[in-house]
Symmetry: C2
Subunit: 556 residues, 2 copies
């Protein structure tokens, strides 16, 4: 048992990361990362259109092989028997659809398409497909309103069908040459399990459900009539997709001979179904009923699970049965900008370098809630949840002639915390209660002010995942899970989490007097949120500045 290991393969935005864990004790044995090649850090941009972001599918595979070589070159592993790796788990960014031919070969590998960005992988952050997303939302509202019930009421430009439709509109040569389109997180398992018939590619429920309008209640993917009205070609793609998607508890197949050789692993070990990176990260961080995992970096991704299956949560990006942990409904929300807002303030506005965060954190930490008299809205990059509106912008109010930079910095942190609370309130309104937060990502370990403000605003203890790479860890856990399930089909992911998911000893607890003031401040935030973010609500702004001044002048 001590000789059984699992390999997590985490395909991020610019690099692939491998993590090897000891299945018996959850120990992270080794990890390596390898950048993708081509473009800028693996991303191909179009100088004439800032919305374009594509990647080379070939570079994904090359980077994976190179990373495996890096792992094998680690001195500590020189004696390691690679046949002790018993399972592989995979995650990838998404929605990152890749056009492939009937043999599951990416069109990007064709000589005639080698310089055509449309034949490459359409990276999650590609924003070319806004008008197509709007068309999908419009048509759904008209003839399939149910389709919008679980994606916040709006289909988003970053998602599967919008990108495909955009390709159909702008590049019929590529679109017509594609037999089907496959999500990055399905492409890799298909490759590793030797699928060379694109009809046989299995689709993971996480990407399908959160990005592809897949839902069992309407029979899987959107129907051909709906897709055909958007573009006849989409109805044809629909026919190439399986009726059922699968969760990460299932194997996509066994590692094929060819890839076993390339990676130097044993052929025949199970390769788990893939999933989106954030969702796998939530597993690695310890998501469970009543626990919200917040992955906080430039933006935030909030992942929760619930055993309730009849949820309606308007304004929440994604609600998909089995998407995170099979058997549970997975919920995905998030904020369009978190760390990006702090970075904006320090680097773009103050023209300081990143080290200045430290000073602002120190000074901001000396302030009491409300003492600055400031209030901000966290909308510099629009609002993803719950307003689902990119046509919004930032706001700071309450400035005097003495307002200092660290006061604004703290107000911006508070604004993101209030935005986070607004999402949690929405979950509560759908009877999904949150009793604890586990944070992971780039910000939490660097910013104690951030963590304490979140504990005080959200009024729950805020924990940090100990692992610095919860996504790769989650992938490794999934690899272990599909292996262990072969022997013990009833094993649950929670049993693995107990072993694998360690929590940092630094826990942030709510401070009662701060909680009290933040309750008042949150009401003011909501007033602004509704006034600027909704139509027909929020008419009581006269009191906003006055209440903030009153709180500012309170004796403490």
């Amino acid at each position: 048992m001590n000789n059984e290991f699992s390999l997590g393969i985490d395909f991020g935005s610019n690099a692939v990361r491998l993590m090897m864990v000891n299945i018996s004790n959850g120990e992270e044995v080794a990890q390596v990362a390898q950048l993708y090649t081509g473009g800028e850090d693996g991303v191909f941009y179009d100088p004439s259109d800032v919305n374009v972001a594509r990647q080379s599918p070939g570079s994904y595979l090359e980077a994976m092989v190179a990373a495996m070589q890096l792992l094998k070159n680690q001195r500590e592993l020189s004696d390691f028997n690679w046949y002790n790796i018993k399972g592989i788990g995979i995650d990838a960014t998404g929605s990152t659809p890749i056009p492939v031919d009937e043999q599951n070969r990416p069109l990007a590998s064709y000589e005639k398409f080698k310089d055509n960005l449309n034949a490459k992988a359409w990276m999650w952050k590609d924003h070319t497909s806004e008008s197509e997303a709007a068309a999908i939302t419009r048509l759904a509202r008209k003839i399939r309103p149910d389709y919008l019930k679980f994606c916040g009421g709006t289909y988003f430009s970053e998602w599967f069908w919008a990108k495909m439709l955009h390709c159909a509109h702008v590049d019929s040569e590529v679109f017509d040459a594609a037999f089907t389109w496959v999500e990055f997180s399905d492409y890799i398992p298909a490759v590793l399990t030797g699928v060379n018939n694109a009809r046989k590619i299995q689709r993971n429920i996480c990407a399908a459900g959160h990005k592809g309008l897949y839902n069992e209640s309407w029979g899987g993917y959107p129907d051909s009539e709906f897709l055909g009205q958007l573009h006849p070609g989409l109805a044809i793609v629909r026919e190439t997709l399986p009726h059922r998607s699968k969760g990460v508890d299932q194997s996509a197949g066994d590692l094929c001979e060819e890839w076993a050789r390339k990676l130097g692993l044993a052929a025949g070990i199970p390769v788990a179904m893939g999933a989106l990176d954030a969702h796998v990260g939530a597993i690695g961080a310890g998501v469970n009923n009543h626990i919200l995992v917040k992955i906080i970096g430039t933006s935030s991704c909030d992942i929760a699970v619930t055993d309730s299956h009849s949820l309606e949560l308007p304004g929440i990006s994604g609600i998909v049965k089995d998407s995170v942990i099979p058997g549970f409904t997975g919920i995905e929300g998030g904020q369009s900008a978190v760390g990006d807002i702090f970075r904006w303030f320090v680097v773009e506005l103050l023209q300081r370098d990143e080290r200045y965060h430290g000073e602002l954190i120190e000074q901001g930490n000396e302030l009491k809630p409300g003492q600055s008299g400031l209030m901000a809205l966290d909308w510099n990059n629009g609002n993803r949840n719950v307003l689902f509106d990119t046509n919004l912008s930032g706001l700071i109010l309450g400035q005097s002639l003495k307002t200092r930079d660290f006061e604004v910095y703290r107000a911006l942190i508070e604004a993101t915390a209030f935005g986070a609370k607004r999402i949690i309130d929405q979950l509560k309104s759908g009877n999904v209660s949150i009793e604890r937060i586990i944070c992971t990502g780039g910000i939490p370990h660097k910013n104690r002010l951030f963590m304490q403000v979140y504990a005080d605003v959200l009024d729950v203890p805020v924990y940090m995942a100990q692992s610095s790479e919860t996504v790769a860890l989650g992938a490794a856990m999934i690899g272990a899970w599909v292996y262990l399930k072969k022997k013990d089909p009833g094993i649950e992911i929670f049993q693995l989490q107990e072993k694998f998911c360690k929590i940092n000893e630094q826990v942030y607890h709510p401070v009662p007097e701060n909680v009290q003031i933040y309750k008042q401040l949150y009401e003011i935030y909501l007033t602004l949120h509704d006034a600027f973010g909704t139509q027909g609500r929020g008419t009581h702004l006269f009191s906003v500045m006055k209440e903030l001044l009153k709180i500012k002048r309170m004796k403490r």
Copy 2:
């Protein structure tokens, strides 16, 4: 005639400035300034109360004598015959009431009061008397609503009666020892003309009307019943005040022997009635019908005159017949912070030194109106006109993740311009139309971006007074005027302005395409202004961010 000169004596916040002009051609012959002594730059603060700001009346006189000596020491004037000075004009800050005894001796000169701040001059920026001002407003609303008609609807804590009432509340020893209280701008003419009976002190209509609720329509100062209800002592002070105030076209008397000796001037030359500094500055800048003089420094003071005498301009600080130019109604408005907001942004927020303004002006000048997508409210120090509300604060909205400092800087300038337009709109609503702006003060010569934005937002040509010291110049003009009137009673101040008031050749004209966009932006400003600044108006905020983004994204 070439040998006739006038002396302007301008008592500012921290220094007295003397300006000598040639009456025949308006030439500024010489000027000097001398700081007041004591406290910090002549101001006594109270470490236990940030609202206190007092000055020593004795230091005013000492500084005036020292300044005269400086003037006489100027090499170019070594041969000057000081008997050629034919008239003296005086202005001072205000409301700056000074408690004096029956012989017009400041209580501050008494040994027993020498360390008592309440016995000193209560400087205009002393803010100790907020609750007393509120009490005056309340009582006036109840029993004398007319009293509030010409002061924006609210009596202000910086003004005459509020300060006196505060003294009555906190220091009855000083209050009881005072025979009367005299405005700084009346104290100096009284001293120079040898008034040693406090009953004989003449009161200038500018300070009395703008700060002391003096109005002919209700018989001068507020009546004893009203004042007595506030405090019996105020009714007693009321009895020491003359029934009629006088304008700057009138002589306060002749220079007395004692002060002629101290200053080395001819006894018997006329000393004009005093006035408040900003109002005298407006004369020096060239105020006239349809011309608004804006004195722009840390805050703004807007002065206009109109030949209409039945004005109602709610929200405008002061409307007083004869206060600026006798025969006209003087109008005083202004913004609580202008240069102070730019300074706040550069020095407090960005932590740069004052030189950084130059860079921000350069870069901000490259932007087109609306291009940044930003909108600000100019309320970091509250709003003086037209909301008359100190419980307001700053606001900036429209930030993206790329918003830069120079964009915010320009938005702050625009906010002050919109605030200025709101005041001008209020004047228009009372049929006082403005066709040209003349700027003076610290900002205009230093900030061309500011000037062009004002021309574009206000849609009128914006001029700069050539003189860097329009207040001292105005005082000298008044000194010349009372002298010339002795020979030619019909002479008008406008005749002197033609000679004395020179305009800088740099004129800022509105650019039509900018005017067009600023009209749209001003509507958005008003939406925010009314939403946060008034009760029951301004309910349409949903569109604010969206319209700004639309304007930002416009093809140019």
